[in-house]
Amino acid sequence: MDGTLGIIVAKYNYWIYVILMMIGFYAMIGKRNLVKKLIGMNIFQTAIILMFVSSGVKHGAQIPILNKYEVIKHGVDATGVVNPLPHVLMLTAIVVSVSITGVALAILLRIYRQYGTLEEDEILEKLG
């Protein structure tokens, strides 16, 4: 576990999230269609959520649901339990992402009703 192979084994999940984030970022700034931009934003959020959840992992640890009576009697070793904080933060982030998607879709429906199209340049043309 040293040298290049060690670095790859230790970091490959972050690289995957960076690639996922690049896909979402390109869809956000490179595409003309507003729905495609929204899907790109969702991919971006998924990458960030995955990165945060993976930062809470510990090798050989159990899930953060403990036995109440055992813990009260003996206490618990903190290195044997997965970090619960990123899970909480991402639980709320997922709900925020759902509500953002809902609001964005509502606004897109309204834009389509007004301009009859969802292509960015056509909307800009109609705006004058």
């Binding site: 649901i65 509500s99 809902g102 509502a106 009703r113």
Partner: protein, 160 residues
């Protein structure tokens, strides 16, 4: 027999197929029961207000997909749905405000001990439960109303 035939025909007019409608009709009570279980059992297993609320909301989304939107609105009107959402947000903020009124910090549930003497630590556990119920109600209402409004473009008539 003829009545049943008629009912089946009118149901098939509004939705897709008899198989889907029957399966959804049988499935919806169990989905709602599972949603309640996930909210209530959030202290001891994976779950909680957000997840259970999404399950409860998805039962209405399933009904809306298999049947007409009018059928769903007859079972759960828009006004009731929004009332549930308001109630959920109010439960959360109300519990926090009650804690402040009874002499603790905002959202410090152990201050509610003067109301029913359970002990401060048990009140923390119970306060988390109250808050989760509020979150579940709010999430259920918002999920259902998001689907209804987006699926019918705000008309609330036919739906998808």
């Amino acid at each position: 027999m003829r009545q049943l035939q008629q009912r089946v025909e009118t149901q098939q007019q509004v939705g897709e197929s008899l198989i889907t409608q029957t399966a959804v009709r049988l499935l919806v009570p169990f989905v709602q029961l599972f949603g309640l279980y996930v909210i209530v059992h959030g202290h001891y297993s994976p779950g909680g207000g957000f997840q259970g609320g999404v399950l409860l909301g998805s039962s209405f989304i399933m009904l809306g997909l298999a049947y007409d939107q009018k059928t769903v609105l007859r079972l759960m009107s828009e006004r009731t749905n929004i009332l549930f959402g308001n109630l959920g947000a109010l439960i959360f903020t109300g519990v926090g405000a009650l804690c402040a009124i009874f002499g603790g910090l905002f959202l410090d549930y152990s201050a509610l001990d003067v109301l029913i003497p359970l002990g401060p630590i048990e009140w923390r556990s119970f306060g988390i439960f109250l808050v989760e119920v509020g979150v579940g109600l709010a999430v259920m209402s918002i999920m259902a109303s998001l689907f209804w409004d987006l699926g019918s473009a705000g008309q609330m008539d036919e739906g998808l």
